[in-house]
């Protein structure tokens, strides 16, 4: 918004004040995220800038906090770093285990949420859908209902949701359930909980993509002899794929960032990165937390770039002119 030529001096002054205010708000938004990056290279166990850091003395900086991410939980952290040392890191290091858990839980939760969510979004965006508003409100509600309430409910229910480990269901899902065959303290429990939390995001993004979708394309496909399967994979899917992927990314990030449900329903085997961070922050915030934070910031920059590219592609595909 440029200033009109007829602006009075007072308006000019106000305009520049307004720009300064906006600058401050942008700073407020971004500064905390950027500040963790240099602080994570602190050579001292403080998370403020030391005098050496401020004078850009190389001695003030180090990678020691990144190193602790590999050595925490390692039985012989100071041994020679040969291939067996590294394989122990992969098998034992606390943060590496947490990262693996976060990744796999996030992946399965995303697959579950995206599959169910996309199919449902197809139904929801049909004009004939009955009780549309009510069902939509229900499916979005995991985003609105406080996570603590969901977690409390699940922690009650999942402790009772058990199958006998020697039954047929127990045999199939046994490895995903706890020792007693329950959802509580199990990978499946955490995956299900995270899928529930991710579903609203999938529904919102996919239905948004479908609003511009021309339903007559489906009829055209049918009239040309395509069966529903072909119609879905050859006509609908390519058009809504960007929406599905960005919904899936939202679902993944939701799971990857989630800690309350993990605190309430996960057992000691299901430590994830956020839970590890939560414990770390509560006990003793050391720059080790900030080094994890830095890695996560980089991950979110990559995800953001991906979503942005997808959004543009989607708009191009649907013929919506960029704003």
């Amino acid at each position: 918004m440029a200033l009109p030529t007829y602006a009075s001096p007072l308006e000019r002054a106000w305009y520049y004040t307004y720009l300064v205010i906006c600058g401050v708000v942008f700073l407020f938004l971004i500064a905390p995220i950027l500040i963790v990056i240099p602080l994570s290279f602190n050579a001292e166990p403080y998370f403020t800038f030391t005098p050496k850091m401020l004078t850009l003395d190389p001695e003030g900086y180090s990678l020691r906090w990144y190193d602790t991410l590999l050595t925490l939980g390692h039985p012989t952290p100071d041994a020679v770093r040969d291939s067996s040392w590294w394989s122990t890191v992969w098998e034992r290091a606390t943060w590496v285990q947490a990262a693996k858990n976060s990744f796999w839980v996030g992946l399965w939760a995303t697959v579950l949420a995206t599959t169910l969510g996309t199919i449902a979004a197809l139904g929801l965006s049909r004009p004939e859908m009955p009780y549309r508003r009510l069902i939509m409100a229900l499916l979005i509600s995991p985003m609105i209902v406080p996570i603590i309430i969901i977690a409390v409910g699940m922690s009650f229910f999942f402790a009772k949701a058990c199958v006998a480990p020697d039954s047929a269901i127990g045999a199939i899902f046994g490895v995903f359930l706890s020792d007693k065959g329950c959802l509580a303290n199990s990978y499946l429990g955490v995956i299900v909980a995270h899928a529930v939390l991710g579903i609203p995001f999938v529904i919102i993004t996919v239905t948004a993509t479908l609003t511009g979708f021309d339903q007559s394309l489906i009829r055209a496909a049918h009239s040309l002899g395509a069966n529903p399967r072909t119609t879905f994979f050859k006509v609908i899917m390519p058009l809504i794929l960007p929406g599905i992927i960005s919904g899936a990314l939202f679902a993944f990030v939701t799971s990857f960032d989630e800690v309350v449900a993990v605190l309430f329903i996960a057992g000691p085997a299901q430590q994830t990165i956020p839970r590890q961070m939560f414990n770390g922050i509560r006990e003793a915030i050391s720059p080790a937390i900030l080094s994890v934070a830095t890695i996560l910031v980089i991950v979110s920059v990559l995800l953001l770039a991906m979503v942005e590219l997808l959004r543009r592609r989607s708009e191009r595909l649907r013929g919506v002119t960029p704003r």
Binding site: P45, Y46, Q97, K100, N101, W104, S155, F156, A159, K160, A168, A171, I172, F173, V175, F176, S178, D179, K180, C182, A184, N185, Y187, G267, P268, A269, N279, R282, E283, A284, I285, S286
Partner: protein
């Protein structure tokens, strides 16, 4: 179905960390590390069984919640003395057979070797620890440093933030001792409504300056970061920070509240037999001694103290750093399990309400 089974097993093995055999829930930080070194690693070496440690701010309520939800994932938990008795009364814990505890090397039966009260129906002592307060010696001149419990509450003479544990236990006793109640009188006073009011009034006088901590690892960190001028802490945590990280921390023993820390087994522990074996192994003469070499908490077996205990650095004599050293006991309070078994619920409730106001 078999195919699915194989597939899902393969995926899980690929995906998730292996489940451990014995899960021990303890307090994390320096204490957790000490127990890992003293109990867990030797146990793994001796038996080949896998053990993992998990942390809690306070294992007792966490474990109680598990048992009541019918969803127990820990085999052994480290709890405070009163909790070991209270939870046993409430049927949360498995009884421990005293005959399973190993005798001292000279053949003295375990029950005679342990200090009085150190073995209860459901719990065995792993160490004797204390709630003390400490300060950073660089913040106060040597001739005007705090020395008594009353000094902790004296904001005029010793300005600065205070760290306190977020809970009623040991805090109320400490407040009364800070208000001039002699250690021997503390529980008599605290048993009356006026005494409870008096303790809260004392806490009120510093409430605005208090930083509350929950996990035992927090207070040394608060001191190191300069977030507080002095803080209560578990004595071993301050000792560990001073020894291992050369922090200039000084412990004030006046007004300390000490007690036994106990290993217990929750009802429905997944690996009951292994849990009992682990406890017997850890609370042997050598186990308790090894623990006292790792952190400044005293062993509860006479035989563990037969020889002088030296810290893991190979030179520091542990005796003067233990809560039970005579010079540390001049104004000290043995935490009363009788009192806390009965009053834990109501005083904590009152404490929470007071905190929120």
């Amino acid at each position: 179905m078999k195919k699915i089974l194989i597939l899902s097993t393969a995926l899980t093995n690929l995906a998730f960390a292996a489940q451990a055999d014995i899960t021990v829930m303890s307090w994390g930080g320096a204490y957790g590390e000490a127990q890992t070194e003293a109990f867990v690693k030797p146990f793994i070496a001796a038996t080949g069984k896998a053990v993992i440690m998990v942390d809690a701010d306070n294992p007792a309520p966490a474990m109680k919640a598990m048992v009541e939800a019918g969803n127990v994932t820990v085999d052994v938990a480290s709890v405070e003395y009163a909790d070991g008795i209270r939870l046993c009364d409430e049927g949360i814990l498995e009884p421990i057979d005293p005959a399973s505890l190993p005798a001292a090397p000279d053949g003295t039966p375990a029950m005679e070797d342990f200090l009085p009260g150190a073995v209860t129906e459901c719990a065995v002592s792993t160490d004797i620890w204390a709630n003390v307060y400490g300060y950073d010696t660089t913040k106060f001149p040597a001739d005007a440093a705090p020395t008594t419990a009353a000094d902790f509450f004296d904001l005029a003479k010793f300005p600065g933030k205070r760290g306190l544990r977020k809970g009623a236990k040991a805090v109320l006793e400490f407040a009364l001792m800070g208000d001039g109640v002699p250690a021997a009188e503390v529980y008599n006073v605290l048993s009356t409504p006026e005494g409870v009011d008096r303790a809260f009034a004392k806490l009120d006088s510093i409430k605005s300056e208090v930083v509350w901590w929950e996990a035992g690892a927090q207070p040394p960190q608060l001191l190191a970061d300069g977030e507080v001028a002095m803080t209560t802490a578990y004595n071993g945590r301050l000792f560990a920070a001073a020894m291992n990280e050369a922090k200039p921390f000084q412990i004030v023993w006046d007004g300390q509240v000490y007690e036994n820390e106990m290993f217990v087994v929750p009802k429905g522990a997944p690996n009951m037999a292994d849990a009992m074996e682990f406890i017997a192994f850890s609370t042997s003469t050598e186990g308790l001694r090894a623990s006292a070499q790792q952190i400044s908490y005293g062993p509860a077996r006479k035989s563990s103290m037969a020889e002088e205990i030296i810290y893991k650095d190979g030179k520091t004599v542990m005796a003067p750093h233990l809560p039970t050293a005579p010079e540390n006991l001049t104004n000290a309070l043995l935490s009363s399990s009788d009192f806390w078994v009965d009053h834990d619920a109501e005083l904590n409730e009152r404490f929470q309400a007071w905190l929120a106001q």
